[in-house]
Amino acid sequence: MESLFVRYRNLVVLLALLTVQLFGLALQVRRTPGGTSMLDSSDPSGVRLIRLWANALISPPERLVHSSKIGISATWSNYIDLVHVRQQNKDLESAVDRLRLEQAALLEDARQGERLQAILGFQQKYIYSTIAAQVYGSSGSDRSRDFFIDKGRRDGLKPDMAVITAAGIVGKVRDVFPHTAQVLAVNDTTSGAGVILETTRIRGVLRGDASGQLEVVGVTADQRIQPGEHVLTAGGDLIFPRGLPVGVVKRVVRDPDRDGLVDIILTPAAPLDGLDEVLVITSTEPRFPPQDEQDLAASKADEGAVPPAIKDQMKASEIMAEKLPGLTDPNLPPDKQPLNDNSNPNPAPPPPQPLHPDEFSPTANDDSGTTPEPESSPKQKPQMTPQRNP
């Protein structure tokens, strides 16, 4: 037995590794009532631990690489490349080149400044509370469209928070780590969001296809859906607030799986392939500008006070009430007031009396009234005595 194991050791280890991983996969996938398979949205504790370890191991060097990229490129353009330029150009050309480099750097800074200003302006105007975050890494596979941002649990992020830019929606927070978070982009195949077409008001579900294109799936074929129409979030998925830009209709294709339905291919509103800064919506409680907040506070403070106009109206109504007849009589005691009189002012009329009453008439048993007679009291019946002829 031992020799058999030693002989086939490689194969046994391979089979053991594959079996363990297959078993682990089986724990993560569940069948839906529709008969299809899907990943469990909440990771089991073991899986979550593996993701945490992987993130803790990969994230710090990845962030280091990302942050040092700027320093390396600056060193390259400001030192190495300048030396090279000086060697080749000893006169005016070197100065011109250096100025061009500086101009390019300044232009890049200006662009970044504009971008940040735009996102900051959007953040200030936006009614919900948001946190700005920087994208620093991805999953490294085009089979899973997700990326990492440099804000995490310590910054108040939680799973399923919406991630947006000023241009449109980007995705949702999938997993949160202490200092970082993983965001599932809307163009992933497992992503989903409720959307609505702006003019035709047709609703659908947004997801990504295998090549990373945004599409609205399962829409009933409609001639009104035309390229160029804007698509917005519908707000029914409890993740994305209503009315955020999603994209523009690019084309409409027939659903290959279901007759009569079409898929709407979209051009995304946000640049999903080149994201640098994003906003995470941390609270969907409305956040108003300071002036509006002051107005709200003032109106709440005045809630108990009666405005002068209302006071005048109340005075007028009191005068009218005095002049009109009321239900209170000042000359009567409180228990005799007409307001407390429960007697019916319009009693029901008595039933009509029959002209020729018989034993079936309601009045025939009036002596008994509505109460039944006791069994012990015999009724007086007409006595029928036979007549004898003499």
């Binding site: 391979l14 991983q21 996969l25 992987a54 990845e62 991805s138 596979s141 990326f147 090549s211 392939d273």
Partner: protein, 173 residues
């Protein structure tokens, strides 16, 4: 392609590396695989962890080590994505095993052979990934032939550059 017998394979040297090289190269591959797609955008037709797995498994000529290394790297890749943990693990485990097994039989010091093997094993890895995701788990995964071919070419090109550099890190007696 020169195929060797079991006896003659002993004549070939097994590549050995310092432990630090293993750790740094594997970690570097994972970090760059996660970071580079942000730089190159949608042209991320490469799989650096796969390239280094094939390199070390071929060099070590040991299917067992190749399988373990492939499993570890694949699981890390899965953990960084939102996918189920184990899909890449199974694909890379198999690739590591195949590379280690082939390394016993083939002259892996030949750059051309190594690059061609990298190309072929990239396609094998993608096929196993799609098979596990689509047919075993029933998840939405589609085979895009052009993308997989470009990824295999990208891996082969990276191997062409990277393998000679990594060869310099070998421990030579």
């Amino acid at each position: 392609m020169r195929v060797l017998g079991a006896e003659s394979r002993r004549d070939y040297e097994i590549h050995r590396y310092p432990l630090l090289v293993y750790a740094l190269v594997l970690l570097g591959a994972l970090v760059l695989q996660a970071w580079l797609p942000r730089v190159v955008g949608r042209y991320d037709w490469f799989d650096l962890p796969l390239v280094v797995i094939v390199y070390f498994a071929l060099g070590r000529r040991n299917p067992l080590q190749g399988s373990l290394m492939g499993a570890a790297m694949g699981l890390f890749e899965d953990a960084l994505s939102h996918n189920a943990i184990g899909i890449n693990g199974i694909a890379k485990t198999t690739v590591g095993f195949l590379a280690g097994s082939v390394g016993i039989r083939i002259d892996v010091d030949n750059h051309t052979i190594r690059v061609l093997l990298n190309f072929a094993l990239s396609l094998v890895s993608s096929a196993i990934y799609i098979f596990v995701a689509r047919f075993l788990l029933g998840l939405p995964a589609e085979w895009n032939g052009l993308t997989e071919l470009l990824r295999a070419v990208g891996n082969a090109v990276i191997a062409l550059v990277l393998f000679p550099l990594l060869d310099r890190l070998q421990v030579r007696d």
